[in-house]
């Protein structure tokens, strides 16, 4: 597991040679197809769901999202040309950037619905926890690779967890529970893929369950309320939403569920935009509800299939990566995508509590689109490196 000696430039030259050799496309075609498909679905959904929301600019969200998607796609192509191994040289700067960007938001950020998640820049508000997910993936992967020979040590697991918990606690403070949970999922998955002992994983899960029980059940029973009433409602309200309608977030979830149901088989995109009035946050966290009400079960299933395709390709790239570093990054990206898709869709269909997580590539927003595209770019880079290694060894891999 020596760090690669090639510079990114050399790496891209090599890839280009390989392409000209006609062996394969310079990227994973299925993964790319899924990304393009999701981008188109996002744009189309925003177009019908937000038409006329901004006075004087009927296609405001649509137009801006297209720009984000194109910029993101180009960024993805650019990253796929980089040798991901090059990133290992910047372990400390990456972690520092991760922590500092979150601290910057806490210090300078602007508030949204009672939480501070982004820094307002001219014409754009930057949500650092989005790009933070990616930074965490790259950093933890490098950290685990450095300790590859001591993976069975309890020490390694604890250190990885501790390093992941620092940014997690910071984003919890914003409060951005959703991103914090994604951070934890990423850390767990990287540990899991790296091969830490099962008992470590089991112990972590057990600790998590105990902590939750204390916060939600034991502490209140003892008269200590660690969470505000509305926060508890938010966490448990989805189980019986009609009883907690006065809680805004629980109510949003209920509305989203109604809207999705009302979409039925093929949706009502042609009926008129008034149905979108049901959908809260229709361009961001609840875009899946917008999609479902517009295109019905057919549209929702199609988009879900594209996500399944992405995750499958992610896992595939994980297993074909030429080194552990690549596998771990791929594992982290897959964890991020899976967790976000499952939790976001789970919230809109009313089976999970509201956490405020964006749907990768679908939700409107530059930070989210860009960081997802960069993550996919890393997958592409791992894929390319793996393929070129195989090619040099004279082996042909099925994709």
């Amino acid at each position: 597991m020596t760090p690669p000696a090639l510079s990114p430039l050399q790496a891209s030259e090599q890839t280009a040679q390989e392409t000209s050799a006609g062996i394969s496309l310079p990227f994973d075609p299925l993964l790319t197809l899924a990304v393009i498909g999701l981008g188109i679905c996002s744009a189309l959904t925003l177009k019908v769901a937000t038409a006329g929301t901004i006075p004087g600019d009927p296609h405001y969200f649509f137009k801006r999202q297209i720009v984000y998607l194109i910029v993101g796609f180009l960024a993805m192509l650019g990253v796929s040309r980089l040798d991901y191994g090059w990133l290992r040289r910047f372990q400390r700067p990456i972690y520092a950037l991760l922590i500092l960007s979150i601290l910057a938001v806490l210090a300078l950020g602007s508030e949204t619905l009672g939480s501070t998640r982004s820094i307002s820049l001219p014409g754009f508000s930057f949500q650092s926890s989005e790009i933070g997910k990616l930074l965490l993936i790259v950093f933890l992967s490098g950290f685990v690779v450095d300790r590859a020979r001591r993976l069975r040590d309890r020490d390694t697991t604890i250190k990885v967890l501790a390093l992941a918990l620092v940014p997690t606690i910071l984003v919890f403070k914003e409060p951005d529970i959703g991103s914090g949970l994604v951070f934890i999922a990423i850390a767990l998955t990287i540990l899991f893929v790296a091969g830490v002992p099962w008992r470590h994983i089991a112990a972590i899960l057990l600790l998590g369950v105990i902590a939750l029980t204390i916060v939600l059940a034991v502490a209140p029973a003892l008269g200590v309320h660690l969470l505000q009433k509305y926060e508890v409602e938010r966490l448990t309200g989805f189980l019986n939403p009609t009883a907690h309608v006065e809680n805004k977030l629980v109510y949003q979830e209920l509305q989203s569920k109604i809207a999705i149901g009302a979409g039925r088989q093929t949706g009502m995109a042609g009926v008129g935009s008034s149905e979108f009035g049901l959908v809260p946050e229709r361009e961001t966290d609840f875009i899946f509800a917008s999609l479902s009400v517009a295109r019905g079960f057919v549209g929702a299933a199609f988009v879900l299939s594209l996500y399944a395709l992405m995750i499958w390709r992610g896992l595939r790239i994980l297993s074909m990566a030429k080194d552990l570093y690549g596998s771990l990054i791929a594992g982290g990206v897959v964890a991020m995508l899976m967790f976000q898709v499952f939790v976001n869709v789970g919230v809109t269909i009313g089976i999970l509590p509201i956490t405020g997580i964006t749907l990768p590539l679908m939700s409107y927003g530059g930070s989210s689109v860009l960081s997802t595209m960069l993550a996919v770019g890393l997958l592409q880079s791992i894929y390319l490196r793996a393929r070129s290694t195989e090619a040099m060894k004279g082996r042909v891999l099925r994709w």
Binding site: I54, E111, F192, R264, S319, G346
Partner: protein, 742 residues
């Protein structure tokens, strides 16, 4: 999701250990399960129970909303727009939707207001008392009296300063626990370039005033901040942006006090009888015509039922709609070209007077139809831009508009309509009234000549002509022409023996009485007489007893009884007389009506309203203003003498305003005019001019006064001449008179 099988031979991939393959399989399975759950749930929601949700989605609750009615316009008699409305983009804060309650800060502010009231009340009372005492002081005083007045004026100024200090309202700071609210104000402030502290103060002050009606934070907001507010709605809870109709004033400061202004209905008004049922947040008239004709202009708000979710947020389209009924337009009697000319003339003359070294910082004018009371033009100086009230403003800016001036300081108080709410002595413009009173009572006869000498000496006081001129003995007509004070002092002295005969005439003509004009805040004024003084003395005495010997200020000299000296001062429009240009215009109009009708004259009710039109410009109703009940029955011969006198004053060789009317076509439109120069202790004189210009079809009475303007023919008469020139389409000429009349 094939291709994840751990069974696939891993030997081709160097890094993939069997253990890792295993784990990848676990993740893959997790993904499978996850997608399975989602697909099943979606299938359940959309396919199995979709119809149920569709029904639920369409049965949203309805909520009624009020739709503001567009306010009617105020038009000139020719139909030109004087006050209109236009839609502008504003940013408002809806207090009830803010992320944190402002209740605590509001309570604290309420305490501050109470404390300030408590603090400033005694000072205010002291000021009132002192003011009344000073205002009640006539012209002539002994040296000691003059000294006392000067001392009291100094005292008053000190008191006013103390009051200003005591009544400064500061909004208590937002408590540091309201971090979310503060951060919201900060973000909004950055966006709109307003200090967050100011936003908070505005919210608190407005909410305190208007009880949770939306608070306009910024008007005329650009598209940029509006888009940001719209796109990032959830970053700005409780902040709304949208179009709101605001008043526009195409003629700026012109007749601002006459039109008045509108503002959101206050908490106090919400409970009032007049405005019962008017929804909160409605703009209602606060002053001037906007207030007098508020019910006509306001219109009836419409109703809209919109679909809302159980949180009360609008979610869908409009279900039911009752269109608002726009307010009616008010067509006024104001003649726009005349009004414009009058304002311009007034401003020009103010500048000219200031050029002559006068203070000349206030005044008012009225031009009206003497027969039916229609006011053609009315103005007050200084004025203000009424669009001030369409934008958010600071309390200090508002105070600057409304703060009353210390005694002895003219100018200021731009909200005050001096034409109807000024309280002034009139100087010699009062002489025709004195003359009619004295003639009718038989105190004097028209042919009798008297009044020689520069001064009349009575007891320890002396009463002099302006500039100590000696006019010699004059008869009534000549005395009016040259404006001989010594003549009228003697009239006042003689009349005093016969009781309040001048006062009776003044009251009959409408002085010291509200004219009944269709404007709010008209002041009554004072025509002093012995009974009035006695009453004040009694009030002062009982008040002094209550206050254990401290003077209350009802009268300048407690215990001073009415003397002929007071009557002599009144005879020349000085002393305790307090009236305003409109009352004088009504008095002259009544004389004119009597003069034209063999002595029988009606006292007209001055008015600005002419008719009510609907928003399509169709007539709804003609406004009627019947004459005041009282009419006068005067001796036509006496009237002839008086009118001859004031005609000669405009044309005669010695006429006080002959210079000003030089070149006027007397054959076509005969002029009658009287200058006046009211004295105020320690100040430049207040210029007055009253005139009547004859015409078969459109006679006009004009009243002009300028505070600290100097002599009447110098500062006031030229304005009247310009107004008259505009009215009769004669050549406009600014002629400054030169006679030094008192």
């Amino acid at each position: 999701m094939t291709g994840l099988e751990p069974a696939r031979p891993p030997e081709s991939r160097v890094p993939v250990s069997p253990q890792m393959a295993w784990r990848v399989a676990v993740i893959g399975t997790l993904a499978l399960v996850m997608f399975g759950i989602i697909f099943f749930r979606l299938w359940y929601l959309q396919i199995l129970t979709g119809n149920h949700y569709l029904a639920e989605a369409t049965s949203q609750k309805l909520r009624p909303l009020t739709v503001a009615a567009p306010r009617g316009e105020i038009l000139a008699r020719g139909g030109q727009t004087l006050v209109s409305s236009q839609t502008t983009a504003v940013v408002r804060i809806v207090p009830s939707k803010l992320p944190e309650s402002v209740e605590g800060q509001l309570l604290a502010y309420g305490k501050v207001v109470k404390a300030v009231e408590k603090r400033s009340e005694p000072i205010e009372e002291e000021i009132k008392a002192l003011q009344a005492r000073l205002d009640g002081t006539g012209v002539s005083h002994t040296r000691a009296q003059r000294k006392q007045v000067h001392r009291e004026r100094g005292e008053l100024a000190t008191l006013k300063r103390r009051l200003a200090k005591a009544s400064a309202l500061t909004v208590p700071r937002l408590s540091s626990s309201h971090r979310r609210l503060w951060s919201l104000f900060q973000r909004l402030g950055t966006l709109l370039k307003i200090r967050p502290q100011k936003i908070d103060e505005e919210v608190i002050q407005d909410v305190y005033q208007t009880r949770y009606a939306p608070v306009v934070i910024d008007s005329a907001v650009g598209q940029g901040p509006r888009t940001v507010l719209y796109e990032r709605k959830r970053e700005f809870p409780g902040v709304e942006e949208g179009p709101v109709a605001t008043r526009t004033y195409p003629h700026g400061e012109m007749a601002a006090q006459v039109f008045g202004y509108v503002s959101a209905i206050t908490g106090e008004e919400l409970g009032s009888k007049v405005l019962k049922g008017v929804p909160a947040g409605t703009e209602v008239g606060q002053d001037g015509l906007e207030l007098s004709y508020d019910s006509e202009l306001r219109g009836t708000p419409g109703k809209k039922e919109i679909e809302v979710n159980p949180l009360g947020e609008p979610v869908g389209s409009v279900a039911k709609e009752v269109q608002p009924k726009p307010g009616y337009d008010l067509k006024t009697t104001i003649d726009l070209p005349l009004q414009i000319e009058a304002e311009e003339a007034f401003r020009k003359e103010i500048a000219a007077a200031q050029g002559r070294g006068r203070v000349a910082d206030g005044g008012g004018f009225v031009a009206m139809d003497p027969l039916d009371g229609a006011v053609y033009a009315m103005g007050s100086y200084p004025s203000y831009d009424p669009s001030f009230f369409t934008k958010p403003f600071t309390p200090s800016a508002y105070q600057a508009l409304t703060a009353s001036q210390p005694y002895g300081v003219t100018g200021g108080e731009p909200l005050l309509n001096r034409a109807i709410s000024g309280e002034y002595p009139t100087g010699s413009t009062f002489k025709p009234i004195t003359a009619m009173g004295a003639l009718e009572a038989g105190v004097i006869t028209p042919g009798e000549s008297f009044g020689t000498g520069h001064c009349v000496f009575e007891a320890e006081d002396k009463f002099c002509n302006s500039g100590h001129t000696d006019y010699g003995d004059r008869d009534l007509v000549e005395a009016l022409e040259v404006s001989s004070d010594t003549y009228f002092f003697e009239v006042g002295q003689r009349a005093n023996a016969r009781g309040p005969v001048i006062q009776k005439m003044a009251h009959e003509l409408g002085i010291g009485d509200r004219t009944g004009i269709d404007l709010p805040d008209e002041l009554k004024g004072v025509v002093p007489e012995s009974k009035w003084l006695r009453k004040l003395n009694e009030a002062e005495a009982s008040c002094t007893r209550r206050k254990h010997g401290k003077p209350c200020g009802y009268v300048a000299e407690p215990g001073h009884e009415w003397t002929f000296g007071d009557n002599m001062n009144l005879a020349v429009g000085q002393g305790d007389l307090l009236t305003n240009p409109l009352q004088m215009a009504v008095a002259y109009s009544t004389l004119v009506d009597a003069y034209r009708n063999d002595g029988r004259g009606w006292r007209p009710t001055p008015h600005l309203g002419m008719q009510i039109d609907n928003s399509n410009g169709e007539l709804v109703r003609v406004l009627k203003f019947p004459h005041a009940k009282r009419n006068v029955d005067l001796n036509p011969t006496y009237l002839d003498y008086v009118f001859e006198g004031i005609h000669d004053a405009t044309v005669g060789a010695e006429g006080t305003s002959s210079d000003v009317w030089a070149g006027w076509n007397q054959a076509q439109h005969k002029t009658y005019g009287k200058t006046g120069t009211a004295e105020h202790l320690g100040q430049t004189e207040q210029a007055w001019y009253m005139c009547y210009i004859e015409s078969e079809t459109r006679p006009i009475v004009i009243a002009v006064t300028m505070e600290q303007g100097g002599f009447g023919d110098e500062a006031a008469a030229p304005i009247a001449r310009l107004i008259a020139s505009q009215w009769f389409h004669q050549k406009k000429k600014l002629v400054t008179g030169s006679s030094a009349d008192a």
